[in-house]
């Protein structure tokens, strides 16, 4: 095979994807849309040598084509249809968490432009709050591979970043979406750039009444006679009550490249979200008299500097996150005035700093060092009470924590075929320390077919969250770290014929033991409190395959699929003699999941089909399936058709999307119905101001 083979860029092997990095500046953001306005198949080269940084790493990378397939989607939706990780959705535009390999949502670390954005109070990240329109590059670092970026990702790490738009002069993109349930999506991007500067402003406004209809099989409406005797009943068709949302996101980016090896960047992302929390299917409250609302204002900002030289690089980042969150449960007591039953507020301020360096010694050695700091200040007020002596009291906490994370790594490729990498990470959260070592290896088994074997092992720790430690009532300052010991091995391959087809795939097996898993349990006093209680054995197989074929000169087909088998078994001591959970799959973790995506493009037409499958999720730790606790498997199918128009003055794009193509009734979480088949239309425009085409 020649050194350079033309490949279509789908979910390729990490080693192949790494080759995109230099191209990314040109291919991110609106670029995919710009290519005739259709689902684009880009071409990337494969370099003969595997990058040192990727030695032994299990990474799934999403390029802008995948991220922008449906502009209205959140990253939660993108991950649902394009990866093997489990996305637990509490409804449409409602809390969505992701978990790798049978672990919990707080075992997934999330970074945005290098800064960790997990909520320090809860440990997890709500992916429904991250519009895919704002993310230019995303990758998943599975299991041990996450140690290369951060500690604490017992399941893995989701790495999100933005990139310069590669604008030449002034550019504008505007897309509007109109969908069912009175859904309106507006997307605007303004760019300006020259050789040195790249400036971009993106804005997203999404709103919806979100009142989709569903057959409520959890309750019945009664028909009464005059004496209030029940004479009949039926399952009502209800709407998703109290589920409206109104979200605004603004992202400002400024990049400056000196042209002499220095790059500066500023990213600032502001979120103003106002969402109602839908009533459960089993709720008999009058939704006109109650309000269950969550509001969030968040600013995330990162300032970065990168200094490149031939054989070394240094970089520094500084950042700040401010989050204000409000939860209100209010009710009209009958006088027409909504009165608070629960009024909870939290303020989180995080200061972030990071410095890193890389040094290459010839082609065989690469050394890296990295130190980061996150200083959190949290003020949580959860309840207003009347004190015994009268006067008001507040139940909550006001705490801070400094989180230091330093790492060094050495990567060695003694021969073309063999790569070895060692990472040593030291973490300090508050006054507690943890040492996280990881070791990676890969070996090129065959140049023909580019068959690579990978293996890695790590010891990892996750520190308790601030709510785990300090929440009132229930916080437990005596909690220990959760600890994981994980090892994995896998194979990958890639074959192709120039401008004809590419086929690649990978499969990996992993095995992890997690001790001191933190679980919130009720206390005798009626509130919940966390304890280090579980031992979990998570193991399984992840596989993915990608095929890209040029069927004819302008007819291209892309297929990719993922599959995951992820037992996650409770191997702790029985909590009581009657405990039936030992040896059983953790609740809400599917044992099997799969996705398939197909893309067909012909000239300026694009057809996209997405499929995902989740096996039954147990709702009980004993894995018993009861009438009231059943979450049966479901299949989900989406279909999109897009047409691009290239005029002298602008590019236009029209797109129609059908979500839940087969009108499936399904639940991701008990009592929270998901929408049936629904449709959304998009129109996009990108003027060609000052450009002659």
């Amino acid at each position: 095979m020649k050194n350079k083979v033309i490949l279509f860029a789908f979910l390729l092997l990490p080693v192949l994807l790494r080759a995109q990095s230099d191209q990314s500046a040109k291919d991110t953001g609106a670029a995919a849309w710009r290519e005739k306005g259709v689902v684009a198949i880009r071409e990337v080269p494969v370099w003969g040598q595997r990058p040192m940084k990727s030695i032994g790493v299990q990474e799934t990378k999403f390029d802008s084509v995948v991220l922008k397939e449906n502009i209205a989607l959140s990253i939660a939706d993108v991950l649902t249809f394009n990866s093997s990780i489990f996305v637990k959705q509490y409804g449409r535009a409602t809390l969505s968490t992701v978990s790798f390999r049978g672990t919990g949502p707080s075992h997934t670390q999330v970074t945005w432009n290098g800064m960790r954005i997990n909520n320090p109070m809860l440990g997890m990240t709500d992916f429904s709050m991250i519009p895919s329109y704002f993310i230019d590059d995303a990758s998943l670092l599975h299991g041990t591979s996450s140690v290369n970026e951060a500690g604490g990702g017992l399941g893995g790490l989701v790495k999100l970043s933005t990139a310069p738009a590669a604008a030449d002069g002034f550019g504008l993109q505007y897309i509007q979406g109109i969908g069912m349930y009175r859904t309106f999506d507006e997307f605007l991007r303004l760019t300006w750039g020259d050789e040195r500067w790249q400036v971009s402003t993106r804005a997203v406004y999404q709103s919806s009444a979100n009142d989709y209809k569903y057959r409520n099989r959890d309750k019945k409406e009664n028909i009464y006679d005059e004496d209030m005797n029940i004479i009949g009943s039926y399952y009502p068709v209800e709407r998703n009550k109290s589920g409206a949302f109104d979200d605004v996101h603004v992202l400002q980016e400024v990049y400056y490249n000196t042209g002499r090896g220095d790059r500066f960047g500023l990213n600032a992302w502001y979120i103003n979200s106002n969402r109602e929390l839908p009533l459960l299917t089993t709720d008999y409250a009058d939704d006109m008299q109650v309000e269950n609302r969550q509001r969030e204002h968040t600013l995330r900002s990162v300032l970065s500097w990168d200094h490149y030289r031939n054989d070394w690089k240094i970089a520094a980042k500084a950042g700040y996150i401010h989050t204000w969150m409000a939860y209100d449960y209010r009710r009209d007591p009958g006088n027409g005035v909504m009165t608070s039953m629960t009024r909870s507020r939290s303020n989180v301020d995080t200061f972030y700093g990071q410095a890193e360096g890389e040094y290459s010694v010839g082609d065989k050695w690469l050394f890296t060092a990295n130190v980061s700091l996150h200083q959190h200040f949290v003020k949580s007020t959860d309840k207003n009470i009347i004190l015994q002596e009268g006067g008001k009291g507040i139940v909550g906490y006001d705490k801070g924590r400094i989180e230091l994370d330093g790492s060094v790594s050495a990567k060695w490729r003694p021969t073309e075929r063999l790569g070895l990498s060692a990472v040593l990470r030291e973490q300090m959260y508050g006054t507690k320390w943890a040492t996280i070592p990881a070791f990676f290896a890969d070996y090129l088994l065959s140049k023909r077919g580019h068959v690579v074997a990978k293996a890695s092992v790590s010891r990892n720790y996750r520190f308790p969250t601030l709510n785990d430690l300090y929440f009132l009532p229930g916080g437990n300052p005596g909690l220990k770290n959760e600890s994981g010991f994980q090892y994995e091995a896998g194979l990958s391959f890639a074959v192709g014929k120039e401008e004809t087809y590419t086929l690649s795939g990978s499969a990996s097996w992993y095995d992890q033991h997690i001790d001191d898993w933190i679980l919130w349990l009720p206390t005798a006093k009626g509130f919940f409190s966390p304890v280090n209680i579980k031992k979990v054995h998570a193991y399984g197989v992840e596989a993915q395959a990608d095929l890209a074929v040029a069927l004819a000169k302008e007819l291209k087909l892309g297929l990719n699929g993922t599959f995951s088998w992820s037992p996650s078994i409770n191997e702790g001591e029985p909590m009581s003699p009657a405990d039936q959970s030992v040896g059983k799959q953790l609740p809400y973790e599917p044992e099997y999941s799969a996705t398939v995506t197909g893309r067909l493009t012909y000239r300026s037409w694009g057809l996209l089909y997405q499929f995902c499958y989740y096996s039954e999720r147990y709702t009980m730790s004993s894995n018993d399936i009861t009438l009231t606790g059943s979450l049966t498997p479901y299949l989900m199918n989406n279909l999109s058709l897009e047409k691009g128009f290239a005029f002298r003055w602008a590019d236009l794009s029209l797109k129609g999307t059908i979500n839940n193509l087969f009108n499936e009734e399904y639940l991701s979480v008990l009592s929270r119905p998901m929408p049936r088949m629904n449709v959304e239309f998009f129109i996009g425009i990108k003027p060609k101001w000052g450009k002659r085409k």
Partner: protein, 334 residues
């Protein structure tokens, strides 16, 4: 997704028996109702669903029987279901309650429903399944409102106020007004009345760092007629007593404090040894068979699987154990 629904079963549970309300997991809507026959030692789970082909709801808090009708209070579904106690079929429902906890019948046409996060006790007409009025509770805001269990002495109903509260309220059922209140310790969890018309409540003392205070929990004996504390039995600091119950004769108290404890209502001090030893788990619910004094203890295990009920004789000998639903919290004798 495959749905199994619409099928109803016919039950005929004549005779005496025990209902167990299983709270389920908060926000998951998987509360259930179990029925146990002490004679045959047989249990039927999910009987509400099986009889009605619909879910009971989110957090089944308590159940009360009156004239052959069982009233199940489902807290976070804001509903009270009325069922036939032999067929388990729904006969009616009261909806749109704020956050209901317990129901107490004053008459055939009037009942009180206590609430958490509401400073009112709801007055309902059980015949018409309607909310007919409210009892305003003094010195309580909506957000910090908490009224719990009720017992009646003459025309007065007594209510313990639990969450961030420290009082017993006295309500005149003729005027539906709070006419008096009695300060006890922090967070009285439960309330019963003995054969001598003495009220008994047990406080949990709050929790460490609570702005409301944290103290040693106590068991209180209150004279219902005079509405005065007669006796206070202090526990050890850090104890978490709850669920004070009384036997059918009204002469013996039971409660949970890690172990299961029992005390004669005439006793001057709490026994040194428990009635039942701790069994490597946290007990969550407790009841005494009013007919023979058998003691039933609920173990919620990890609160994510079917809990188990342990049955003992009045002498503490094990008789039976059986699995019910998730988080069995309350009992109701037929």
């Amino acid at each position: 997704m495959k749905w199994d629904y619409g099928t109803t079963e016919e039950f005929s549970a004549s005779g005496t028996g025990l209902f167990i309300t299983n709270e389920g997991m908060f926000q998951y809507g998987n509360a259930t109702l179990s029925y146990y026959d002490p004679e045959t030692k047989s249990v039927e789970n999910e009987v509400f669903y099986r009889a009605n082909a619909m879910k009971l709801g989110d957090v089944a808090q308590s159940m009360t029987i009156r004239d052959g009708v069982g009233w199940i209070v489902v807290n976070n579904s804001h509903v009270i279901f009325a069922i036939d106690i032999n067929t388990f079929k729904e006969v009616g429902r009261i909806t749109n309650l704020a956050s209901p906890r317990y129901i107490h019948f004053v008459s055939d046409e009037k009942a009180y429903v206590t609430q958490i996060w509401d400073n009112r006790i709801f007055i309902v007409n059980p015949k018409r399944y309607e909310i007919t009025g409210y009892i305003e509770c003094p010195n309580m805001a909506m957000e910090s409102g908490s009224t719990e269990q009720m017992v009646q002495y003459g025309k007065y109903v007594f209510v313990n106020c639990w969450s961030y509260q420290n009082r017993i309220l006295k309500i005149d059922t003729e005027t539906d007004r709070v006419v008096d209140e009695l300060v006890v310790g922090i967070q009285p969890t439960s309330l019963v009345m003995d054969k001598n018309y003495k009220l008994w409540t047990i406080t949990d003392g709050g929790y460490e760092k609570s702005p409301y205070g944290y103290e040693t929990p106590s068991l209180y004996r209150i004279d219902a007629a005079r509405f005065e504390i007669e006796k206070q039995f202090r526990f050890k600091p850090g104890d978490s007593p709850s669920e004070v119950q009384i036997n059918g004769e009204g002469d013996k108290l039971f409660w949970i404090n890690n172990d299961i404890w029992s005390m004669d209502v005439e006793a001057d001090r709490v026994p040194v040894r428990p009635f039942l030893k701790y069994r490597d788990t946290k007990y969550y619910g407790l009841t005494v068979n009013p007919r023979n004094g058998d003691v039933y203890v609920a173990d919620a295990i990890d609160y994510q699987q079917q809990g188990v009920i342990y049955r003992y004789t009045a002498d503490g000998e094990p008789v039976d154990e059986f699995y019910v639903g998730v988080t069995p919290g309350a009992f109701c004798w037929k």
